[in-house]
Symmetry: C2
Subunit: 566 residues, 2 copies
């Protein structure tokens, strides 16, 4: 990243070191992406994704919406502390509505970062002003001016020099009266905002319209040349990438994107599509990013595994088939001259034929080398446990592939605290048989309990037997299994999602879900084993443990916050 020239210490509200043709990448996977139904991530998962985003080279990480819940606050704060500390770390942003309570909370969360940013927003379309906020245009303009200034001033209050890094978004800009929009944006600049982000909140605009909106803002808003204009698009009509690129052509120099294009409804603009379009067509867009494209494939898999949101095979750039003609090249003479069909090389996004294939005879050193190659840095403890799992897998499979190893690491290392532990499982089922499961669990109190249950299938039987012991009411909202690699002896990766029932959903201390438009929390669990029945049991234990831990964590964070406020 070329962010040496300026920085958080610059006395005027200028964006961090951006050359004329550099497009800043603002990743909102952890904020807008995490608002996808069921994508709830825990703090450790968010930290791991934030680290991967830093390796990818994004310029800004929007880490969350701190006022939404104590858990959200804590995640943003820890990302600021653990991923945002060095001079070339990404800027860490927190979202806030245009009011003091939200902005204070966002600042508390992001201020430990070397480059903190407050991102504040207010709707500017008449339809939102009338139906949602119930305020006049004058009131909207006043709040914008006051709250942007307030956000900018917080840095100085904390003894930092200059005005803070503040981004302002007029929500539903696409349907706002342009003249009023210009007024609001001019007020935000005057009050100190250094980035103006223009959202197509409902994914309704076309590339020509969105490009014209950006051009109109640049031409008509006093001071627009002193700030970064940013595009934030949604993919409801399949046009998010095209709209974002149209904005870049019209002069936008920040793009708000998510990995795999996750997000509410049809999702946000995909980071990988915008980055690779700019990369592949430099002479059309005359713009570039500082993204390390070779990290794209890996972070795509990581985000998919943690959020439990699969990537379809025909997804541009990161789908399993996106470069499929490569795999088929040997059967396919016609494709032998890559110039005829290939516009991107798989290596560019980090899909490489591994030179180091592991198997039965691979020792700890080879295993560790492979982990480093895959971008993991494990603690000695985690390395030991992962290596044991690897050796056990080698007994079952001749060749252990990279995705197998990624599945083991994700399964072994990033698991929630084990309040309840599965000690033993046995299952019998078949046609004409009653599927039956027997389980033995060790509880948080150290006591071992056993039970058995019938079910409509083996997984149902297991979950019912576990429920008899654990007694944490929930409903299973998703269940899926995929083989990690080809071949029937492959590792099967089970992803499930449960939603607590009986008042366990919204934890105390959370901002009312209604207010911020968020849904009931759900908890994902994953398990990876060559035995999909055992993997299903593990996935359920991991989701249950996550759900039970979240309740405890949420209470602890709330207590700590209350203490700090005294």
């Amino acid at each position: 990243m070329s962010d040496k020239a300026s920085g958080a210490h610059t006395p005027t509200p200028a964006p961090r070191g951006q050359a004329g043709d550099e497009v800043l990448v603002f990743d909102t996977t952890l904020r807008d992406g995490e608002q996808s139904p069921g994508a709830t991530l825990n703090i450790d998962e968010k930290l791991e994704i934030a680290r991967a985003l830093a390796r990818l080279g994004v310029n800004i990480i929007e880490a969350g919406f701190p006022i939404a819940s104590p858990g959200d606050f804590e995640a943003v704060r820890r990302i600021a502390l653990e991923v945002g500390q060095s001079e070339d770390s990404p800027t860490i942003a927190g979202l806030a509505r245009a009011n003091k309570a939200d902005i204070d909370r966002a600042w508390e969360a992001v201020k430990p970062a070397r480059h903190p940013r407050i991102h504040t927003f207010i709707a500017t379309s008449d339809i939102h002003l009338q139906h949602k906020l119930r305020i006049s245009r004058e009131e909207c303009l006043k709040r914008t001016r006051e709250m942007v200034a307030y956000a900018c001033g917080l840095a100085a209050l904390d003894g930092r020099s200059g005005c803070g890094d503040v981004e302002f978004s007029p929500e539903d800009a696409g349907r706002s009266d342009p003249e009023f929009l210009y007024q609001v944006l001019a007020a935000a600049i005057e009050a100190g905002a250094s980035t103006l982000n223009i959202p197509d909140t409902v994914g309704y605009t076309t590339p020509a319209e969105f490009g014209a909106l950006i051009a109109g803002i640049r031409a008509n808003v006093p001071g627009a040349d002193r700030v970064v204009i940013s595009a934030h698009c949604h993919d409801d009509l399949g046009l998010a990438t095209a709209n974002t690129l149209a904005a870049v052509q019209a002069g936008a120099r920040q793009v708000e994107v998510t990995i795999n294009g996750i997000g509410e409804r049809a999702g946000n603009t995909s980071l990988e599509e915008v980055v690779m379009a700019l990369h592949t067509r430099p002479h059309v867009y005359n713009a570039h990013t500082t993204i390390d494209t070779t990290q794209i494939a890996r972070i795509s898999r990581l985000v998919s595994a943690y959020t439990g949101i699969p990537v379809q095979p025909n997804k541009a750039i990161v789908g399993a088939n996106a470069f499929a003609h490569e795999a088929g090249i040997h059967q396919d003479g016609m494709l032998k001259n890559p110039l005829t069909y290939e516009i991107m090389q798989p290596e560019t996004i980090g899909i490489t034929e591994s030179k180091l294939v592991l198997g039965k005879h691979s020792g700890r050193h080879a295993f560790q080398t492979k982990l480093t190659e895959l971008g993991y840095e494990l603690s000695p403890d985690d390395l030991n446990r992962t290596f044991e799992r690897f050796k056990a897998l080698c007994d079952k499979k001749k060749i252990v592939s990279d995705p197998d190893i990624e599945a083991i690491v994700n399964d072994e290392v990033y698991q929630p605290v084990e309040l309840w532990r599965l000690q033993h499982l046995q299952v019998s089922c078949g046609t004409g048989l009653l599927p039956t499961a027997t389980v033995r669990l060790r509880g948080p109190d150290g006591i071992v309990r056993e039970d058995a249950a019938l079910g409509t299938g083996p997984v149902d039987a297991i979950y019912k037997a576990i429920n008899r012991i654990v007694q944490a009411p929930n409903v299973l909202t998703e269940f899926s299994i995929t083989a990690v690699t080809e071949g029937i002896d492959a590792v099967g990766e089970v992803t499930i999602r449960v939603e607590p029932t009986g008042g366990n959903g919204a934890h105390e201390g959370d901002l009312s879900l209604t207010q911020v438009g968020m849904r009931q929390r759900t908890y994902s669990g994953h398990g990876a084993e060559t035995d999909i029945i055992v993997a299903s049991a593990k996935a359920y234990m991991s989701a249950l443990n996550k759900m039970l831990t979240a309740k405890i964590e949420s209470q602890q964070v709330a207590e700590r916050t209350a203490m700090a406020a005294k």
Copy 2:
């Protein structure tokens, strides 16, 4: 469809009944879509999808590439016979390279349709001419002229009046020298082509470039105003929808699309995205289609089930979350005024809250009514078998949802010929146990065989036990399970894909795979049961039966073809 005004009987090569602002929808799910790795469909599945496409209201169905294999030929012929017979049936198209053998074969396959079309193509970019075809520009021009004229003349030879309906595509048009491209297109028009299709073969162009390409053709090709200009885009950079819409704005009046955007690499343009963009923004595009949008959600599920290609939750229009704010509306006061966030209603694409919920006490009449509501027309036999499955499911689940019923119908009705039948299965597994499966199968000879095997997991054990009996060497290339509905008692849908090994892949009579750029055939299997282990066994039996039947069918078709040629 407004196709009454003209038709195949028109003496001049005019497109079927198209008003100035009507965009014809040319669906290539069965041709370009089926070229997705692993998407191989059998003839019955292709017929079922073709019927659904006709109900959806597409104007042209590209049913296959008849010369590629006897199976492909047969599928196109049967779709022509069974889906293309009435005056308002879709046009049935078959693909052919620009040579007599291909064109003859395509015409044989499509001519039983009321409205047949030959779609012939030749590359026009220098890179393709030099490296792939190894011919000069002059030769390319000559072949275009001769082969289009030849294709047009076939209709007359068969006693039809007028010139046949012929579509011509210059492959890799986007990288062709514009002046040469204009010459080739003018020659195609002169020779009788009524549709000129412009492909962005490698998914490289931007909306502005592709729109300009179409506008350039309309301005510079003599006779362009007498033919339909068509757009065929690929999604490698995530721009297929935007490029296709740019073409429509530049005057293209046919769009080549696939359901769910399936296709090679990142896939083709999505039918649902283009149709809904035109539908949602009529004043921007000033164009419309005759698609019945309420069929979109259903056909999306059908194509996903048959091809085994999942749709990601954040896919525009047809993803599970695309309308997710609808589901969350009760927890989400902010969304109560739909005007603030909703640009499309879920009902428009056929997502409806069913009024008719089935369960234990539902009789045959209610079940049949539900099937009709879902768009199925089953034979009495199929109805009986499906009803039995439904009653069995009711014993296990309180509420049987629409997706449950769709899973049963797909599982029960559209299964391959059962050469081998699973009679009994029993499995035991767990932690510290050796997963063991026992199977009993009835063979094509009526003899019952039993065997058992150990495996790395229960599915591996089952497949190994079955392999001991069936002895059809194959490798499992994909394995996935998803719960059809929420709740742990849900039906689990297993999709697998196998690839024959040991010389079973390309059947005799197939055009060399290399020549047409196709891959080794793979066979998908699906099984739906509340017991995922039983469902996995069924899925494997269905894939094996498909693989074994394909070999037999292929031999039979080849014999029949050889007979007909005498």
